[in-house]
């Protein structure tokens, strides 16, 4: 309370100081300069106009014993979170949750971070990247979940939680399984006389599938974004990006094989739309797939929102699912991109951490179910995953190849040896170099790899 008053006081001081200085100088200018003028002191006038304009809305006082919690997330309120909050509020009249949406891009995350720094209003917030969470932990903005003795994250959601650990501690509760996988058009498969791909299919198999399914104006494959086109590299590395001597691992033959295969698919097989065309045409990727303009789509669970929307995305084919192809068949440590996302944290400044924690557990154990239509499956073991899949298909079971849905989403990975994500600077740099290669028909893969390795090593040096 006293901090609130202090803030108000200093605000008033600041406004008065600035306004006062202006008014004074205006008056001085008026009388000091021209004694004949009827000193209109316009500066003072406009300063008072402005004074009426401010709105102080920092007060979030709890009225009548009702505790108010504020939760920030990146999903638009109407895509589920509002229903979540409504359901909770109906069941818990004493603890009312307000959902605030932030756009999960750089400016949006900056907004969240400044708000976390400057206000005490936020109780819970979502993290969508471990790198962002790490910064927040460094800044002391996040509550260590070890405070809550009855919580065992790994028991709840399994080993997949490990990449979210910061300095050996859990500051966040990953609530959702977020796998990336390929969508295939069953009719196109049948036409080409192909079977659903095996779970351990390879890059060469994929290339072959794309070539065979490409037909007329239909592409063989369309990626969600450029990252989809080289995800196999990350999957092969499994969070280990450097060699034992600390230098970049990107000169691994796997990198060359991946990049070259995709480049060939664009410019030799012409089974993937050249990346430059796709990005500059602002292609609506999901629509491309459902309009049968591409036989395969590299994306993830969020496509269910479009797929279930038969009005805007009319289609009559069955969707089959395939895992992300491995680079070669002998890879024993290939990690499918089945990660946990929507990591819920409690602000270290929250005035009601216990209540926030209560909400967090409820959310993870099934409170989040209104979000499954958009492809989110609760990660918690205490939730029946069959029920989640059912909710995700939204009654359109006939449109999906059920066996492949489950086998792909719940595919088991070998245990991870490291869980530290790549620095954003490095992953951005790799994206740039790969993009340059993919948009250039005559691009040279060795130059690209040389650039990546050199710039990666440079970065490692500056961070030492």
């Amino acid at each position: 309370m006293s901090e609130e008053t202090n803030k108000r006081l200093s605000r008033r001081k600041f406004v008065v100081l600035t306004g006062g200085a202006l008014a004074a100088s205006g008056l001085l200018a008026a009388c000091g300069d021209s004694p004949t003028a009827t000193a209109p002191a316009p500066t003072a006038g406009s300063a008072t106009t402005a004074a009426g304009a401010g709105t102080a809305t920092t007060a979030a006082a709890s009225s009548g014993g009702v505790i108010k919690l504020q939760m920030w997330g990146g999903v638009p309120a109407e895509s589920g979170p509002q229903k979540v909050a409504d359901a909770w509020n109906a069941a818990n009249p004493g603890i009312q949750v307000e959902y605030v949406r932030f756009v999960n891009d750089d400016p949006g995350n900056l907004k969240l971070d400044t708000a976390l720094l400057a206000t005490q209003d936020i109780d819970l917030f979502m993290n969508y990247a471990t790198q962002k969470l790490q910064k927040r932990v460094q800044g002391g903005l996040v509550l260590d979940l070890a405070t809550f003795k009855d919580l065992d994250i790994e028991a709840k959601v399994g080993d997949l939680a490990k990449p979210w650990k910061i300095d050996g501690k859990y500051y966040t509760f990953p609530t959702n399984i977020a796998p990336a996988y390929y969508w295939l058009n069953k009719s196109a498969l049948d036409e080409a006389g192909l079977q659903s791909p095996a779970l351990n299919w390879t890059l060469d198999d994929f290339k072959n599938y794309a070539l065979k399914m490409k037909k007329g104006s239909r592409w063989g494959f369309v990626p969600w974004d450029i990252g989809t086109l080289y995800a196999m590299i990350d999957n092969s590395f499994g969070y280990v990006y450097t060699k034992p001597d600390g230098t970049s691992r990107y000169d691994d033959p796997i990198v060359k094989k991946t990049l070259q295969t995709i480049h060939d698919m664009m410019y030799v097989d012409k089974s993937i739309i050249p990346w430059g065309e796709q990005s500059s045409a602002k292609l609506a990727v999901d629509a491309t797939f459902f309009k049968n303009e591409a036989a395969m789509l590299g994306a993830g669970a969020w496509i269910f929102r479009s797929s279930n929307n038969l009005k805007d995305y009319p289609h009559d084919f069955v969707s089959v699912f395939a895992s992300v192809p491995r680079v070669s068949s002998d890879q024993t440590n290939y990690w499918q991109p089945i990660t946990l996302g929507d990591a819920l944290s409690i602000s270290s400044k929250s005035k009601h951490p216990q209540e926030a924690y209560k909400f967090m557990k409820w959310y993870a154990d099934g409170g989040m179910i209104p979000l499954t239509v958009g492809g989110r499956i609760p990660a918690s073991k205490d939730f029946n995953q069959d029920d989640a899949v059912k909710a995700m298909l939204a009654g359109n079971d006939k449109m999906y190849d059920l066996n492949s849905v489950k086998s792909v989403i719940f595919n088991k990975n070998p245990p991870l040896t490291s869980t530290t994500a790549l620095d954003t600077q490095v992953s951005d740099m790799i994206k740039e170099e790969v993009e340059k290669y993919f948009v250039t028909p005559s691009g040279n893969v060795d130059t690209t790899i040389g650039n990546i390795v050199r710039r990666h090593n440079d970065f490692i040096k500056t961070k030492k």
Binding site: T18, G26, A29, G32, D33, E277, K282, E432, K436, V439
Partner: protein
């Protein structure tokens, strides 16, 4: 209040600029000084750990950073848009100041890009410049250019694609400032120019262009400064891609500060950028006597 004329002048001068200057000091100068100090530290937006003075390490890093040189090159290509836009704007403004039909509507139309949503700009221009299906390349093919540039889809030409959009975008802005300047030219001169059609180009060259040269000077200086600081439009159209082919210095600063939170490093890049603008501006400032008309 008895004082000498020059003292009164001095006081009057200070008093006239004081209201504005107080604000500039508080909202520009002080933050600038803070960022100047930050440049010598390893400050991270969210780090609580003690901040260290690393002195010139950030500069060493700037000049060893490949992205810096790419961004520097891209920035210079980007700046080409400024004189081109000014040159077209001066023609437009003179024409639009003439007797033509629908004058107010046309003026408003030329100003539209400046207030159109950047999302719409990005979308429509991406379609216009689309290499295989876009109308611009369609036109180029129809006049016999069999292999037109791939514009935003290629690392070689993307920056020039951005230049085209930038010229289009700033045209209206430059034009309305020129229009205001043209209003200051005595109307009888312009009338005389209009009556004698054959000599109207001469009038433009001998009378109008010299008379509005202070505006041209102003637009060049502020245009280059503005262009060097522009990142929003590029962010909306290409996000710096493909690859890093449209990353300009201000976008580089923006990313370093707001995506990576490396405030010390971002400040160092920004101050290097500042020095570049300072040099460009100084050259223009001292070169102005050669061509800028003053009364």
């Amino acid at each position: 209040m008895k004082m000498s004329w020059s003292k009164r002048q001095k006081l009057a001068g200070y008093l006239f600029i004081a209201p504005n200057m107080i604000g500039i000091v508080i909202f520009f100068l002080i933050p600038a000084i803070i960022s100047f100090v930050v440049m010598f530290t390893d400050l991270d937006f969210l780090s609580k750990a003690p901040v260290n003075f690393v002195w010139f390490d950030n500069f060493v890093r700037v000049f060893g950073d490949e992205t810096f040189y790419t961004a520097l090159k891209n920035t210079f290509i980007f700046l080409l848009a400024v004189p081109v836009s000014i040159a077209i704007a001066v023609i437009l403004a003179i024409l639009l100041n003439n007797k033509i039909y629908f004058k107010p509507v046309l003026r408003a139309m030329y100003f539209m890009p400046y207030i159109t949503s950047s999302v719409a700009i990005a979308f429509v221009w991406s379609l216009l410049l689309q290499p295989s299906t876009g109308p611009i390349n369609g036109f180029l093919r129809s006049i016999g250019i069999s292999d037109p540039p791939r514009w935003l889809a290629s690392t070689e030409t993307s920056m020039y694609g951005i230049d085209i959009i930038m010229v289009w975008y700033t045209l209206g802005f430059n034009m309305i400032i020129y229009l205001a300047a043209l209003q200051e030219i005595p109307t009888d001169l312009l009338e005389a120019a209009r009556i004698d059609g054959a000599r109207s180009w001469q009038t433009v060259r001998r009378i109008i262009l010299p008379l509005i040269s202070p505006t041209t000077f102003f637009l060049l200086i502020t245009g280059l400064m503005g262009a060097i600081k522009t990142f929003g439009l590029i962010q909306a159209i290409t996000q710096g891609g493909p690859g890093d082919s449209t990353v300009v210095l201000s976008l580089f600063v923006y990313r370093t500060a707001f995506s990576y939170y490396e405030l010390g490093y971002a400040s160092a890049i920004a101050w290097v950028l500042f020095m570049i603008v300072l040099v460009i501006t100084a050259i223009q400032w001292f070169g102005q006597k050669k061509w800028v008309y003053s009364n």
